[in-house]
Amino acid sequence: MSTALRSRAWKLLEMVTTPLLPSDYLDLVSPLRAGADLRGRIEAVHPETDDAATVVIRPGRGWRGHTAGQYVRIGVDVDGVRMWRAYSLTSPTNRRDGRVTITVKAIPDGKVSNHLVRRAKPGTLIQLDQPTGDFVLPQAKPAKVLYLTAGSGITPVMGMLRDTEFDDVVMVHCAPRPQDVIFRNELHDLVADKKLRLTEVHSATDGMLDVARLDELVPDWAERETWACGPAGLLDAAEEHWTEHGVQERLHTERFRPGVVVAGDGGEVTFSATGKAVDADGATPLLDVGEEAGVLMPSGCRMGICFGCVTPLKAGAVRDLRTGEITEAEPGVLIQTCVSAAAGPCDIDR
């Protein structure tokens, strides 16, 4: 069928289905088809540790594929409420069956992570975004690689390890106890095959990893192209350490949590498109304020990295919760609602 004919047929269909769209009907039978909003179906949930699990997802036909190390925003209905979070993809990019995996660690009071690890059922439909993120391997293979990870920070790196083999790879991974190391068996298999040199630091017995110890653990660390992912403390220390030695261009980091430093004055927040106004304090992200008020807020990582939540600021001022920086309204100013709080009265275009 020619494109012109097809588009005419589609227009006719739209006239029949108005006020709905033909896709609203197609979604009933084929939610993963090409052309649909990007969704995925959970096919399996495999426990990894006591509080981590790998979720196998069959993405919709519109999935464009990922690069090792990237993350994906997923929308999951928890207790009936759609919640969006970002998780690193842990599957290799060339998986034959086209499935992708994310590996999730349940964090205390984490609504989505606990739901995915403990309650998610195969067959459940979830919302997906295209994969994104620049914590990825370069085109040209570096001769020597160091992966520096802690806790669930291992997840993007596992995506890399499964995807690309290097001649000389060292990994320093930090977890409370041996049984808390996600992917432990697979890592040890790689070690047995001589594809990886691994140092596990068990913080419950050895204390937190001090980056100064790298000299002893990986003497040639400064020569290695390094990918680091873990808690802010570790990454801050690594950035400082690498900069001190003048090799900061070899360090690539991925942060899972924003470092919140400043909370300022709140104010009345107006959501002018919805016609709602609520009082907000200076510490609560506008995303939470809007969601609490029943406003349809786009959201994503909730930590200021994915820009899934950007929204025009029509009036007033907001404060970046990570830096304390004040942003004032101007035409075209977009703010990340997940890391911005009211700094006085403001108007958000939602």
């Binding site: 029949v16 108005t18 009933l28 209905d77 409420v81």
Partner: protein, 372 residues
């Protein structure tokens, strides 16, 4: 309006206590909203879409009488579901808490000639805020009828049984005109107002789409069944219109429902607002199927108290609300559909004629509160 204020026995403190008890009922439902509720609305939406699709499919062969009958019945039910349990309730924001952009009051559009955003304004903001306040709530007779003794009589009201019947048959157009405030806006000066013109255009576009779908494309697709399909879609719209008109008449027009004067809502407290909703609404009793087909507007009292609670919860809320009516010795106006429809129609006929001014005026809360 009754000669005796049925809330006169309540003190100001009791009214506020009543308000707190109602708040508690609301909080309980909100805390318990979850997966089951979400599954409910998705199931209803999915069932409605399938029913509409199958019915329209069957109507492609509507020249065969059984197909006509089946298809028309199915399409009528599908349209009623779309407008009542699904559209009305989603547009109230009852399902916004799910944060699903596809089932949200800001994105939803319904099978109705009045565009969702205009209906939301006149219905959610005006009718639900000023429920049964003469001169503020245009739902009181839709500006074409007299539904309370205190509304002034004009000779035009002699025809109101007829106006009401015509309005019932073409209810969606009545609503569209009403949402546009057509009566007032056709005034020469206001007609040119750009805001009104933009809204009128939007209604025009919506009517065009609806008419094209039901009266042109679907019949054309039916080929030799063109005329019978045309008759079927017209009938389905008629059935939906008369049904929704009847249900909505039962919500505020039956005998026993109170209306209020403008000045009675000055400085109204939360408790007083609740009390006005309780006294200004009436329910329809019946089976689960009946509640479903009315979009749970059979629980009109509960809906007016808590317009944004999910409709599937009104039945359980009704038990608690009714207990409060008893506790505070208030009349819970309810009855089976035929009885309530008859009661509302009787009022329409009765008030088409002038009446003597009632002796006692509408309850005046300010005076009451001073007295209490």
């Amino acid at each position: 309006m009754t000669a005796i204020d049925p809330t006169a026995h309540l003190t100001a403190e009791q009214i506020e206590e009543l308000g707190r008890e109602l708040d508690a009922i609301r909080d309980e439902v909100i805390a318990g909203r979850g997966e089951k509720d979400a599954a409910y609305i998705r199931k209803v939406i999915s069932a409605q879409r399938k029913l509409e699709l199958v019915s329209r499919g069957v109507l492609l062969f509507s020249m065969f009488p059984p197909a006509w009958l089946l298809g028309t019945a199915g399409l009528s039910v599908a349209k009623i579901m779309d407008n009542m349990e699904i559209g009305h309730n989603i547009l109230h924001g009852q399902w916004d808490w799910m944060r699903d952009p596809k089932i949200h009051s800001t994105t939803w559009e319904w099978d109705h000639v009045s565009p969702a955003d205009q209906w939301k304004h006149s219905h959610n903001e005006l009718h639900h805020t000023y429920t049964n306040v003469i001169g503020k709530d245009n739902d009181l007779g839709y500006g074409i009828m007299r539904v309370d003794e205190d509304q002034e009589w004009h000779p035009i009201h002699l025809g109101q049984p007829l106006w009401n019947f015509i309005n019932a048959c073409f209810f969606e157009y009545g609503i569209a005109a009403y949402d546009l405030e057509l009566g007032e806006n056709l005034d020469k000066r206001r007609r040119k107002n750009p805001e009104f013109r933009a809204r009128a255009k939007a209604v025009g576009r919506k009517i065009r789409k609806q008419v094209l779908k039901d009266y042109v494309i679907h019949p054309l697709l039916s080929g030799p069944s063109f005329l019978t399909t045309l008759a079927a879609t017209f009938t389905a719209n008629l059935v939906r219109n008369i049904w929704s008109h009847s249900v909505i008449m039962c919500g505020h027009f039956p005998e026993g429902v109170q209306v209020f004067e403008r000045r009675s809502i000055k400085d109204e407290t939360r408790g007083q607002w609740y009390l006005r909703q309780m006294m200004g609404s009436a329910n329809i009793s019946g089976s689960r199927a009946m509640h479903f087909m009315t979009g749970n507007l059979s629980h009109q009292i509960e809906h007016h108290l808590f317009p944004d609670l999910p409709s599937n919860r009104y039945a359980e809320v009704a038990v608690k609300v009714r207990a409060l009516f008893e506790k505070y010795e208030l009349e819970y106006v309810t009855g089976p559909l035929p009885k309530q429809v008859f009661s509302a129609w009787r009022k329409v006929f009765r008030l088409s004629l002038p009446n003597k001014k009632p002796e006692v005026k509408t309850p005046d809360r300010e005076q009451e509160l001073v007295a209490a």
